[in-house]
């Protein structure tokens, strides 16, 4: 049962892909029945694409310097950035996956929304302001602030690219499956459309276009989910108790949906997952990058506050939508695959699998027009998330690897931005190819792995280099690598990969999520190898802490980074 935890969480983010593995006896999304072309959805989606391409065109005209390209010139306000962060974070998977999980098991869905939310206060209290004060375009700027540029930039670029790669594959496969289901488009077309559009947004419009795509998508998603929740609550006279009572009467599990079920069975896995979700959020490169788009630490701080508010509100909506789906759909055979004599299982037989609960609810509450709108929003959501990931990966290649490591800082801004655009195109093409290759693979573990790597490599290196004076290059490098390697190894040896992907009989690592082991390994590694480092370079690095400390705490010396 415990393997459900990582798989389910991964699915919540990586929607669709591998959901048949998630609920072992659950819905089968693997065998997708293609829908007829859904014209309302396609037209609404085309409107979204046209609007965002218009924004990209305008953004391209305004994007001249490297600061424009990577950080939207630092001209995004705290409120706008809060919406954009929420847009980056509220994936189609949180929307459809969590509401689907609530539909299938009630309370358990709430456990995951909470896990995804609680990382944000930590980001605010420990990371956001210091990051803005120290960095320029990527979190590597901060991690390598007083450490060796070459080694630490390579480490954080690798950490970035690993997280981006796994996240992106999961999103591409989920996107292809979802679009096939929603729009009736072929899987390959769907993946190519997503890939091409994200290349256009990122390569032409840079951070400015990507930010506005996120903001528009966040508004559409919040508006759609709000409307759906209001229609549901309206039916129950705005009494949640009446809604819960009706759901308990309707759901085959009855009163069990109001209490924790089988999802958190093994406390070690539960805590490990909690650690990965909480601290992984603070190590996701595409999220960290968003803090450089605002003018100062105060705006960075406000953006997390707004983002937390929007994300919390959104997760409460998904909870209402899940319960709404129970009450609106379960007694209507029109939403189910019917067996002999019209009999159906109220959970397993829902058309397209439980992840489609919110989509069917749109149909039940607002007819085909609302169904088209919500489908288009789901597509837009995927597009926005992959664009953010691509920009982050491209920046790691151009800003960290090319400009600082290969060219050793001797490169013109124009050349660096050009390299970044080329990287975005290459990443987009690679993502299309990988999306195609992995079509029928179990990719559900990949988002869990992305969070585990972010929590075990990016986060410890970032936090220690900023907060602990004694951190040296050798310590950060060895500790970060140990965290990265141990997280990846433990996931590979766990059931999700070792048994379900490679087909071995027994898993070699008993837990679903490595974070409870790999995070301490990383922190201990950084501490030990920094302590053992008696080199002259280490002495210089420790001595350089004071200047970094003043800037990270006060922002003195930081403001200039974005002003032209």
């Amino acid at each position: 049962m415990s393997r459900l935890i990582i798989l389910t969480v991964a699915t919540l983010v990586a929607l669709g892909a591998g959901s048949s593995e998630v609920l072992a006896a659950g819905p089968d999304l693997g065998a997708v029945q293609r829908q007829p072309l859904n014209w309302t959805a396609i037209i609404m989606f085309l409107l979204f694409v046209l609007g965002t391409l218009g924004i990209t065109y305008r953004a391209a005209a305004q994007t001249k310097s490297a600061a424009d390209f990577y950080a939207a010139g630092g001209g995004i306000t705290g409120f706008q950035n809060g919406l954009a962060i929420a847009g980056d974070y509220m994936s189609a998977a949180s929307f459809l996956g969590i509401s689907g999980l609530v539909f299938a098991s009630g309370f358990d869905g709430l456990i995951y929304s909470i896990g995804f939310l609680v990382g944000w206060p930590i980001v605010l209290f420990l990371i956001a302001e210091r990051l803005r004060n120290l960095g320029k375009f990527t979190f590597s700027d901060v991690a390598s602030f007083r450490l060796d540029q070459t080694q630490i930039r390579i480490l954080s670029a690798v950490g970035t690219l690993v997280v981006v790669a796994f996240y992106l594959i999961a999103q591409m496969v989920g996107a292809g499956k979802l679009i096939e289901l929603l729009f009736g488009l072929d899987y390959l077309y769907a993946v190519v459309i997503v890939g091409v559009l994200m290349i256009v947004y990122v390569a032409f419009g840079g951070m400015k276009a990507t930010t506005w795509v996120q903001i528009i998508k966040a508004c559409l998603l919040l508006a759609g989910a709000t409307l759906m929740s209001l229609i549901v609550l309206w039916r129950f006279g705005f009494s949640p108790e009446a809604m819960f009572a009706e759901a308990v009467r309707t759901h085959p599990k009855g009163d069990a949906i109001m209490a924790p079920g089988a999802l958190v069975a093994d406390p070690v896995s539960a805590i490990s997952l909690g650690l990965a979700l909480m601290f992984g959020t603070a190590g996701l490169p595409h999220i960290l990058m968003r803090f450089f788009t605002v003018s100062d630490a105060q705006a960075a701080r406000k953006s997390v506050f707004y983002a937390t508010g929007f994300i919390a509100y959104f997760y409460i909506l998904t909870f209402i939508i899940g319960f709404g789906a129970i009450t609106f759909l379960m007694n209507d055979p029109g939403f189910f695959k019917l067996g002999a004599g019209g009999a159906y299982d109220k959970v397993k037989d829902i058309l397209g699998g439980t992840n489609m609960a919110a989509i069917h609810l749109a149909n039940a509450t607002g007819g085909s027009l609302f169904l088209g709108f919500i489908s288009a929003v789901a597509f837009a959501t995927i597009l926005a998330v992959v664009a953010g990931l691509t920009l982050s990966g491209a920046s790691a290649v151009s800003h960290d690897l090319y400009a600082e490591v290969i060219a050793r800082g001797r490169v013109s801004e124009q050349k660096e931005v050009r390299i970044s655009k080329i990287s975005a195109i290459v990443i987009g093409i690679v993502a299309i190819v990988l999306g195609y290759i992995f079509e029928n693979q179990n990719v559900a573990f990949m988002v869990g792995l992305a969070f585990a790597v972010a929590a075990s490599c990016n986060f410890p290196v970032l936090l220690m280099s900023v907060l602990w004076k004694g951190t040296t290059t050798r310590g950060a490098l060895v500790g970060g690598l140990l965290g990265l390697i141990s997280a990846v190894t433990m996931v590979v040896l766990s059931k999700a990969v070792w048994v379900q992907t490679f087909g071995f009989a027994r898993e070699l690592f008993p837990y679903d999520n490595p974070a409870i082991f790999s995070m301490p390994i990383a922190f201990l590694g950084i501490w030990t190898f920094s302590k053992l480092d008696a080199s002259n370079r280490a002495k210089d690095e420790v001595a350089a802490f004071d200047a970094q400390y003043i800037r990270s705490e006060t922002g003195i010396g930081a403001a200039a980074a974005h002003v032209h």
């Binding site: 309370f107 709430l110 456990i111 929304s113 909470i114 896990g115 939310l117 609680v118 944000w120 206060p121 930590i122 605010l124 209290f125 420990l126 302001e129 949640p240 108790e241 819960f244 009572a245 308990v248 009163d255 109001m258 209490a259 924790p260 958190v264 069975a265 093994d266 406390p267 539960a270 805590i271 909690g274 909480m278 105060q298 701080r301 406000k302 997390v304 506050f305 937390t308 508010g309 919390a312 997760y315 409460i316 909870f319 004071d546 200047a547 400390y549 003043i550 705490e553 006060t554 922002g555 003195i556 010396g557």
Partner: protein
């Protein structure tokens, strides 16, 4: 800034006061969030019957109330931090910057 300026700033009571107050506040709130979240997870893992307890006469369970409270607490904690930072910490920082400029 030259090296002696750094040393001067580091030793200045205002700087030390700012850093001491803010890091104490930030770590207190971080620990509060950790305790709330992992407390909830441990209840889910070890005290399922408790979370299934009904609140009042209806079907709403203690688990749902607590779960929604955890979501709310995350937002409230960020609000508390931002409020204090916007007033107190920003003011201390402004004083400090003015002094060295």
């Amino acid at each position: 800034m030259a090296a002696q300026d750094y040393n001067q700033l580091l030793r200045s009571p205002q700087f030390q006061e700012l850093v001491r107050q803010r890091s104490k506040f930030a770590w207190t709130l971080s620990i509060a969030m950790l305790v709330i979240y992992f407390g909830f997870i441990l209840l889910v893992a070890f005290a399922k019957p408790l979370l299934a307890t009904k609140v009042g006469d209806g079907v709403t369970s203690l688990g749902i109330i607590l779960g929604l409270s955890v979501i709310l607490s995350a937002f409230v904690l960020t609000g508390i931090y931002v409020q204090r930072a916007n007033s107190r910490f920003d003011e201390l920082t402004r004083h400090l910057t003015r002094e060295i400029m």
